[in-house]
Symmetry: C2
Subunit: 430 residues, 2 copies
């Protein structure tokens, strides 16, 4: 099946908003095995809209519309599409009651023009919208289909998933299942080298999405039954796990912070943070997780040397001899944060995020990461140069969370990890 996506709205033509609906719909259609030939954005102009709809309907079996369902006279998408699909509209009292109730809830009377939103297809279907006043619509004309969706993503997405997918699935062959693997550690090009050959297959498909600090691998399978599709996804995922191992930190909605908090909880380890260059970013990510208080109680942002000395007990002579940007300072920060907070595991970061302040010996992007856990201090040197201040900070925080995850789960640590016995800190790191 071939499809086109048509967004209606002046805000999009003016660049006031970003067309995220197009990406959502494109991905959903791809998952269904439907080929998207075109995406369009048009304004509220009846002639141009009708011209476009007629041309698109001639080319493609399915047209998916977003927006243009508002109550004003400008909003004429529903009437236009109905005409092109040889349907008409009728007033629907049930929809009108919902609209009236919606306005009443916020103490307002319903504007007269909202009756327009209660018009639904006569031959087609109405698609009730539980998050807004405008219902969607489904039109059919001799094997050609059009679906109209409201513009706001928090209305469009649930309506698509709950009502449109069940209508489209029977028109497509088989059912689909998707799975996303979340990978941290190797960058996109490194990942391509290791698992690139796994992206070639047609069913299941696999695609890589590079994010600022991690990569996502999305696997989609089509089969006769849901269980069959899930099993195919699982088998494909296993091929990735076989190569990437514990670089895959989780699946689907898991985040590195949620997985790390869960791992700490299971290991009975509490966490503390001592941050210089990341300035609170690690603590912020940990506390993004609802219920983080079960493992996280104390965080230190020791941006100044005095803070490192006063709050964490980093010796003045260590700072003087090696500077704040040194493995020694990182190790003392980690040890101090653990001692002061009483946490089982501490993470410490000191680095130069830039843009200024770099020297040939200590360039922008140089970050030392340390963790104190049980009787050992673990130290890593990260070279994150050639990136923006923000990216250096984000990647440093990502490495810190991943170190905590590995320590909590007892996984191997990166090869470059240096270790010092906590008892020998004063001798080895001074």
């Amino acid at each position: 099946m071939e499809a086109e996506i048509i967004a209606v709205g002046t805000e999009l033509l003016l660049g006031d908003i970003l067309n995220t609906n197009a990406q959502f719909l494109a991905r959903q259609l791809a998952d269904l095995g439907i080929t998207v030939l075109h995406q369009h954005v048009v304004g509220d102009n009846a002639t141009r809209l009708e011209e476009l709809v007629r041309a698109a309907k001639a080319r493609s079996e399915l047209l998916v519309f977003s927006g243009g369902l508002g109550p004003t006279a400008d909003d004429l998408t529903k009437e236009t599409v109905a005409r092109c699909y040889r349907d008409t509209l009728r007033f629907d009292q049930e929809e009108m009651d919902k609209i009236t109730a919606f306005f009443a809830k916020s103490g307002r009377t319903t504007p007269a023009n909202n009756e327009k939103q209660a018009m639904v297809p006569v031959r087609g279907k109405k698609l009730p919208n539980r998050n807004g006043t405008a219902p969607g619509a489904w039109f059919e004309d001799e094997g050609r289909y059009a679906v109209l969706l409201p513009g706001p993503p928090h209305e469009l997405i649930p309506l698509w998933k709950e009502q449109v997918l069940p209508l489209l699935q029977p028109l497509c062959s088989g059912v689909l299942h998707s799975l996303t693997l979340k990978v941290t550690g190797p960058g996109e090009s490194h990942l391509e080298e290791r698992v690139g050959h796994l992206f070639q297959s047609a069913n299941p498909t696999a695609a890589i999405y590079a994010k600022t600090t991690e990569c996502h691998i999305r696997i989609t399978a089509r089969a006769a039954t849901p269980a069959g599709a899930e099993e195919m996804c699982r088998a494909k995922a296993q091929e990735f796990y076989d190569i990437l191992g514990d670089c895959v930190y989780g699946e689907d909605d898991a985040t590195l912070e949620s997985v790390t908090v869960a791992a700490l909880q299971q290991a009975g380890l509490s966490l503390t943070t001592a941050e210089s260059c990341t300035g609170g970013l690690v603590a912020r990510r940990v506390t993004d997780v609802p219920g983080a208080s079960e493992v996280f109680g104390f965080g230190f942002v020791t941006y100044a040397n005095e803070a490192k000395q006063q709050l964490l007990g980093v010796p003045g002579e260590v700072l003087k001899r090696h500077g704040a940007l040194s493995p020694q300072t990182a190790a003392w920060m980690a040890a101090g944060a653990r001692r002061v907070s009483g946490a089982g595991l501490s993470l410490a970061l000191t680095g130069l995020a830039g843009p200024g302040g770099g020297t040939p010996e200590k360039p922008v992007g140089l970050v030392y990461l340390a963790a104190a856990c049980r009787d050992t201090i673990f130290i890593r040197k990260l070279g994150l140069g050639g990136r923006s201040r923000e990216t250096v900070r984000l990647r440093a925080a990502q490495n810190a969370l991943d170190l905590a995850r590995r320590l909590a789960l007892g996984l191997p640590l990166p090869d470059d990890t240096q270790t010092v016995a906590a008892a020998r800190l004063a001798e080895e790191m001074r």
Copy 2:
């Protein structure tokens, strides 16, 4: 002048990437006074592309393309558009040398198919690309124009600004100037009520963009000279300043954190943070500003009650009597953070970000914000309910930064701000 934006690329049709170029180009064209009639996304199919280009050229004077300039056989945008604009392509040695040098820099030899990228218009213009291997192109055919731009935004944006704008400006009447006012405090609907009437004018235009924690007002003026356009923007901006006053915290690239850091620096005040519900978010935003170390040295993330007691000296009896979520605890946190760090100004936050844990007396979204500065403690109660955990945290942090800005600049504080003399903390807040 009327225009259409055409993006070429399978990644967009599959939903693998978001079409941010369309928004950038739409906004730039709107600023030039050019009306965008359509936006399109098409794949690398020669027939469909040519059909689209011919139809769009017949409708609109200007077509702006992004993507499709790669080296592979699939990338045929340049050839197709050249044909539609009655132009041809020639090999350009200068571009080829740049491509060869680009590959040599990373120790690679240039793939043979890259010669395709060195093809440039014969009658039109090449648009050299200093951030990638694919040059852009400009075609003209009897008052109809087409501009081809590379897909990656970090190539497209500078190429547009440096080379396309100077070609388009003479085709538009007058010159343009834009100015963005950054507003914190009132929400979008409240702002619409106060300044909605200022959005009506046609030149300068003004538009509002609502962000999660603030609003931006973008003013664009067209005039015969740059100075004239700037003056018109400034006059319009003054109308907003007259109504909104110090709710406008800055212009253009200013961020609330950069303005706050600058204000603290000018006031000779150093800052410390004591964060519970925001978990490091305020510290993180402050340290996003390059050079923040001049005013920021110490930050505390006191998520647990023990941390509030141990690091900040919040009395156990205050926590017991009023709970962590109370104006008393916030006040003691602010006082303690200031005392321990020696900073001139402290910000403290304690609240319930949710999603769980709310009660009728202390619902999700209730946040107490306190600041200690000079001899006074300032306390605000924020009701941020009905929002996600993330939004509650972001808005709480925004209010905290704005309180610091106001204190540093000596601006009026919100009406609901309660004050306690620091010397009377033990008596009034126990």
